[in-house]
């Protein structure tokens, strides 16, 4: 049976997914909020696809007490190439929208799922790296720890909250836009 092209509304939905990916570049994807008795207002690490924002210097200053190495944008090579990856994904998505072929859409969804999984694995990898490679010479010695990617944790006087935010939500919405054709084009 020759592959039937997907409907125009499906193509539009896939195009929107592409646009959303580009938009997500301008928003933070993930963050961590630190709260302590002395910091009721909280300290933040906010991660964009291409940069870090928040109270990085203050957090580094405090982290040296437990022997955690300081981090900066230079510590994460991903920040240099992640925007290109996302733009490429967006272009691929737009191409799929033009082709309107289901097989390509399946491929795109698989790439999306793999990309998402890799992203989460990458964050986890860094959390393990920073949480477990603590300098033995630190004034305060604590057991190595791995902050969760999502949710609450407690280290010394700090309670941390990790969370996905705007950029991730936009990507989530993009993914939903890719799923829409599956429902639209379902066999009746």
């Amino acid at each position: 049976m020759p592959a039937k092209k997907m409907s125009v509304s499906s193509a539009i939905s896939i195009s929107i997914a592409g646009v959303l990916l580009i938009i997500s570049l301008f928003f933070p994807w993930w963050g961590m909020n630190f709260i302590a008795p002395q910091y009721p207002e909280g300290l933040d690490i906010v991660v964009y696809p291409n940069k870090l924002k928040g109270d990085i210097e203050i957090i580094n200053g405090l982290n040296h007490y437990i022997g955690m190495k300081p981090f900066s944008e230079e510590s994460f090579p991903e920040l240099a190439y992640l925007p290109y990856l996302i733009v490429s994904m967006a272009l691929f998505t737009v191409v799929v929208a033009f082709l309107r072929k289901k097989s390509w859409l399946y491929a795109l969804i698989v790439v999306f799922l793999i990309g998402g999984a890799l992203g989460i694995y990458d964050i986890h990898r860094w959390l393990v790296d920073f949480g477990t490679n603590l300098n033995d010479n630190a004034p305060i010695r604590i057991d190595p720890f791995v902050p969760p990617i999502f949710g609450e944790n407690r280290i010394a006087n700090f309670t941390t909250f990790s969370y996905f935010t705007t950029g991730s939500y936009i990507v989530g919405a993009a993914f939903l836009c890719l799923l829409f054709p599956l429902w639209k084009e379902r066999r009746k």
């Binding site: 109270d55 210097e57 203050i58 200053g61 405090l62 007490y65 004034p139 939500y169 989530g172 939903l176 799923l179 599956l182 429902w183 379902r186």
Partner: protein
């Protein structure tokens, strides 16, 4: 199968939506308690987490400092050093403040004044003068730190200051003591001829944050006591009170109280400015000096009951109120009447070459509250009602300047000098609060022996009747205060990075010690909880110099974090300074004592503050 996937996924989407809603911040609006029927205690109680409605800047008198209070709680928030050394902040030890103080160790801070825009406090700067050592200072309200201090030449004790014009064009500094120009020696027998009461017109350059003397006026050799700038219709004018127009040179208590009348000096600063532009002045020791008897115009005298203290312009700018401090009488003078008399040249002769206006032609009305004695100083509320301190009868009298009617009286403990109302000397006072600055506290507080605190009393002036709602002791000695709405002041908590500052080090790896001949320059950092002076050294927190070296230590506090202040003291070298978050501060000294001197952080910064130490090693000469 696919259907199942889709329903699972749509379920997930709904879940995301639900969680967004769940985590969203939809906190309900805070309920505001009604102000009605509050007790005195409730009126002054500001619970933790809430902040006061007003800042009160109380002059610190001969402590040389400024006290910052919150109103209505009357909590003392901070002491800001201005004219005196303050080891708590290192004021007078770090390079900048040491240079500003110019070797003086104390000052006598009298009448503070905020910078103004259109006659309103703009919350940018605070000015203060030092009667003790004849200086003027400007404080930047972003950091509550003094930026510049100038020595005022030809003047001894600018008590009659500071007052600023409506748009902070000038800060005028008239003097309490007359001296010969240039502070030269001159026999007191020649007082009337050789002594002068010099007034300075000072400007602030906001860019450099420096004060400059624009010109001076060689007023007659009298004492000038208090002053106020005009407002609105009188904005180009200013008024000063005088005493000792008798020109007595000894026992002023008796000899300066002989005549029934002294004068108010009424002058037009726009005219004086014009005269200076036109070259109508003499050059005296580098200053442009106007001599009123020679360079005529712009200055007039208004007779007033003898030995007046305060002179205060009403918020509408139409009247000025003055009174002899020994007399029971308050006099309301009219600017409009004075302008008319000046225009028609209705003068009653001259004193020291300055035309005298007739009392009757400038006086609007006299007010005589029964048994009230010693009127000193007047503030205003939002309706333009006047509040005058009565030093001798120890009370505040509320009265209506437009009718002369006395509205209310409240006793205060004891002997108020000045009072300060919420924005009470601007074109639009707020009313609400008045603080009476009492000279004596006597039995008001737990005794600490013979040296007593002074006393400040908070008075609720929101109603028809005044009510004293709080009393607090205060260190000597608030002469006057300024009360500003808290939201007008915009502070910074951390100094921003200044990449152009050659003394700053923001990366701990760049900390270094540079030797130039017998000078040692340290470019170090302070962070929780260590000093790094030389990042590459075996012991980065040690400074080693030779006896006799000049040592310049620049330290940058690289904790860009609110309230993480570091101190830096060198044991037995009598040195200490503070370094605020993000700030680079400098200390200079000659290492003239050989030996081993521990250095340490004096301002508690962290759990390991006690470990924040190092050494200064001074190698003895061979």
């Amino acid at each position: 199968m696919k259907k199942k996937v889709i329903s699972a996924l749509s379920g997930l989407a709904v879940g995301i939506l639900a969680s967004t809603v769940f985590f969203g911040n939809f906190s309900s609006q805070e309920t505001i308690p009604t102000a009605a029927a509050k007790t005195d205690a409730e009126k002054v109680y500001v619970p933790f987490g809430k902040k006061d409605e007003y800042y009160l800047f109380a002059s610190g008198g001969h402590s040389g400092q400024m006290f910052i209070y919150g109103v209505p709680s009357m909590r003392r928030i901070r002491t800001v050093p201005v004219f005196s050394l303050d080891s708590a902040t290192g004021y007078g030890w770090d390079k900048h403040s040491k240079e500003m103080l110019g070797g003086y160790t104390w000052g006598d801070l009298h009448h503070p004044a905020f910078s103004e825009t259109n006659g309103e406090y703009d919350g940018k700067y605070m000015f203060a003068t030092d009667v003790g050592n004849s200086r003027a200072a400007v404080m930047d309200l972003k950091t509550f730190t003094v930026k510049d201090i100038i020595q005022v030449p030809n003047t001894s004790g600018p008590h009659c200051a500071a007052f600023v014009t409506e748009n902070t064009e000038y800060l005028f500094l008239p003097t309490r003591f007359s001296v010969p120009i240039g502070h030269k020696y001159a026999s007191l027998d020649n007082y009337s001829k050789e002594y002068r009461g010099v007034m300075s017109a000072v400007t602030l350059d906001e860019k450099t944050q420096k004060l400059h003397i624009a010109y001076q006026v060689a007023l007659p050799p009298w004492s000038y006591d208090l002053s106020d700038a005009g407002k609105k219709i009188s904005k180009d004018w200013a008024v000063l009170t005088t005493y000792n127009t008798e020109e007595a040179t000894t026992n002023l208590e008796i000899n300066a109280s002989k005549e029934d009348r002294d004068f108010i000096v009424l002058f037009n600063w726009k005219e004086l400015e014009k005269m200076v532009k036109e070259g109508k002045y003499d050059n005296v020791g580098g200053q442009k000096m106007i001599f009123p008897e020679k360079h005529k115009g712009g200055i007039y005298l208004v007779p007033v009951a003898k030995s007046p203290h305060g002179v205060d312009v009403t918020p509408d700018g139409k009247y000025f109120i003055a009174s002899g401090k020994l007399a029971p009488l308050l006099t309301v003078f009219s600017f409009e009447k004075a302008f008319k008399a000046i225009k028609n040249k209705e003068f009653a002769g001259e004193r020291n070459g300055i035309p005298i206006l007739k009392y009757e032609s400038v006086m609007e009305r006299e007010v005589n509250p029964e048994n009230a004695l010693g009127p000193l100083h007047t503030q205003f509320d939002e309706k333009g009602m006047a509040y005058t301190t009565m030093f001798i009868s120890s009370e505040i009298v509320k009265w209506n300047p437009n009718t002369g009617e006395v509205l209310d009286r409240v006793p205060v403990q004891y002997s108020p000098g000045h009072a300060v109302a919420a924005e009470g000397d601007t074109v639009s006072p707020d009313g609400k609060y008045l603080v009476s600055l009492n000279k004596l506290s006597k039995d008001s507080y737990l005794s600490v022996g013979p040296s007593h605190p002074e006393s400040m009393q908070l008075i609720d002036i929101s109603g028809e009747k005044m009510k004293v709602i709080q009393s607090v002791p205060v260190d000597p000695e608030p002469h006057y205060g300024q009360m500003i709405k808290a939201d007008k002041i915009k502070t910074i908590e951390v100094y921003p990075k200044d990449e152009k500052n050659p003394d700053a080090v923001y990366n701990q790896k760049d900390a270094r010690i540079v030797r130039k001949g017998n000078e040692v320059h340290v470019y170090g950092i302070a962070m929780r909880s260590k000093f790094i002076f030389d990042a590459k050294a075996k012991r980065p927190d040690v400074i080693e110099v030779n006896e006799g070296d000049k040592v310049v230590i620049h330290i940058t506090n690289i904790d860009f974090d609110e309230d993480i202040t570091h101190g830096f003291a060198i044991n037995q070298y009598n040195l200490n300074m503070e370094i605020q978050p993000g700030q680079t501060n400098t200390m200079e000294f000659v290492a003239d004592k050989p030996g081993t001197y521990p250095l340490y952080c004096t301002n508690f910064c962290s759990a390991l503050h006690q470990e924040m130490t190092g050494y200064l090693l001074v190698k003895p000469k061979q």
